[in-house]
Amino acid sequence: MNKLKFWIGLWGGKTFLFLWKLFRAERDDRPGMVSVRICEDFLQRVAKPKLTIVVSGTNGKTTISNMLAEAFRNLGYKVAYNDWGANHNAGQARCLLDAVSVFNKPIKDVAIIEADELISPINVPRLKPTYLIVNNVSRDSMLRNGNPEYIAERLRRAAEGSPQSIVLMCGDDPVSSLIGENNPRVVFGAKYLNTNPLKTTIDDYPICLKCGGKIEYDFRNYRNIGDYKCTSCTFKAPKRDYLVESVGVNEMVVKEEKGSFTYPIPSSAIHNIYNTVAIVSILRNIGEKPEKIAEALKNIKPPQSREGSEVVCGVNIHRKLAKTHNPTAVSTVFENIKKDNSKKLLLMVLDEIFENPKKSETVAWFYDTDYEFLQDESVTKIVLGGDRYLDHKLRMLLAGVDENKIVCIPKHIDVLNYVDLTDVESVYIVYDIYTSDVARKVTAEITERIRKERGEVK
């Protein structure tokens, strides 16, 4: 019966996929949904390409998957991959529908499958990938992901359920280093890359998860990512098989057993260095030559960023996505703002907009977020709009931000009423996924005003 269900699921999914492609709507999970609805263990039963790579972890899943798929294509592989970040059952099934024939025979060389961390203990054992990539495990939305240890535990179980999978992980992340301890592992990392991270309010990894001892860092490249050891037991960062030794404007040098090799980098942002070395590590591990990898990585860019910068009449306008409820993401944006010494105006449209406003009522994450970075002489004014405006104001005051610089109001779009561009060299528009439309309007209006005020007519 189960076998029959599988074949109906496969053919049903394939039929839908054909129709979706016919109507140019192929970037859709629904064909996969058909397959998993008909056959619950579809992911287990469907054939996999010889090389099946599951990408999981907190940050960078879509970036790594996208860049890895492109690198494989450039190297001549036939790749199955959903580039729209589909990382649940239906999306994974949709990816594999592309990777097999109607007779359930692999027709692609490689499948790259994103896996949401929470469902990974169920789906990774079903998928039994050749590689499980864990780029990092860091704090995320409390409501959805609890705490990093909880996520690490789910990924640990995922690896345990697929013991033959090679776990490719970031050795610089102490939480990730607990994943796949009994699996074959490939470890990547980086030397100190002169990133000068600012001291955060919250230490992401204060104690050893093995013994509770104090953790010491030789260096941090950002937050809890660096070279660490426990002062009470033998726990320390594992030996890195692939180690970024240095980074230039457009390239990085990666040291491995066979020597040091140079690879192009799509961006010098520290998180993209880690994303790229993950890709290099996997390609080297399957036996691709460094020079071919370097060629394949040329001109690869991270997926279309939801951030952007432009200079208008000498004023830098930056749009920064800061996922609310994720203290790491918002703190990182605040840190980048602090590191910019120009005189700046901050416009924040942060709170989520839901039909039921109570959904976003939880403001606990404010107090894990480094609002302290906003206490800076170069900040001329902070204008914040959103339902939680009074909570933001209190948090900023507790962080030591000058009261005279703060304007907090309930409606996002009203931030435009409090803009003062006098002497401003940079404008930051900080927004959430759910407020991107408002952020676009604000950016357009600010751009227009700068043009008018500083003498350039559109």
Binding site: D203, K214, A364
Partner: protein
């Protein structure tokens, strides 16, 4: 005034650091002692007016229990003597008899006769909270893996919105003498200036809380919103 912050390095996961921050900004003349996991708590040999401990991960709960176990009789003595304790989030579970996970049990401090229970699948409950403590309305949020199922004779709050110690309980937390424990986590104190004033008065502090006007404005708005008709307090239960 002396305030001991127990294991601040562990209370970093759900915004509970906001409570220590608010205490420091409010009680500017107080002496704050930060006791880390490897330290002997100050309360063992010295006097303190208030002890605060916040939410932590499930593994950290075990480290914290082991660190405090040698001092259970002293903790009981301090509670009987009226020292103010504030425990937010799952730190409340440390003071019960045990924390159960399926058929496994972690022996806790046994200060109060209750136990908590979670599933190894770690189903998580998220909700908003509104409750009454004496004549003070307390607001906040919850996110937790476990519930307390034992009957508690000395609850902290009567539930007006959200759930109690478990989904069927109409009472929340523990309040005995000046010991306050609640599953409400994160920035309980900055979100509740009236309660902050009350609990600090028990520790000997009088005066305004930090940014009192702004804190009261935010508190009043939250109260108003939580009392609107049709408010859904439960934000979801999932793994």
């Amino acid at each position: 005034m002396k305030i001991e912050l127990l294991f601040p390095e562990l209370s970093t996961v759900y915004g509970d650091a906001g409570n220590a921050l608010y205490l420091k900004k409010t009680c500017k003349d107080a002496q704050f002692i930060e006791t880390h996991l490897q330290d002997k708590p100050h309360f063992v040999s010295g006097n303190v007016d208030m002890i605060y401990i916040g939410s932590m991960t499930e593994k950290s709960q075990i480290f914290a229990i082991n660190a405090l176990k040698p001092y259970v009789s002293r903790i009981k003595e301090l509670i009987e003597n009226g020292v103010v304790f504030l425990c937010t989030g799952n730190s409340m579970e440390l003071f019960g008899e045990y924390i159960a996970e399926d058929d496994k049990k972690v022996e806790a401090l046994g200060v109060f006769p209750f136990n908590s229970k979670r599933s190894s699948e770690y189903f998580r409950h998220n909700s908003m909270f509104l409750g009454d403590f004496e004549d003070i309305e307390v607001v906040g949020c919850r996110s937790q893996f476990a519930y307390i199922y034992s009957k508690c004779d000395t609850p902290f709050m009567k539930v007006k919105g959200g759930i109690g110690n478990n989904p069927d309980d109409k009472f929340e937390g523990i309040h005995y003498k000046n010991f306050f424990a609640t599953y409400v986590l994160g920035p309980l104190l900055p979100l509740n200036p009236k309660f902050t004033k009350h609990i600090l008065s028990l520790a000997g502090f009088s005066g305004e809380v930090a940014f009192e006007k702004e804190a009261m404005d935010a508190y009043n708005l939250r109260l108003e919103k939580l009392k609107e008709e049709g408010v859904n307090f439960i934000l979801g239960e999932h793994w």
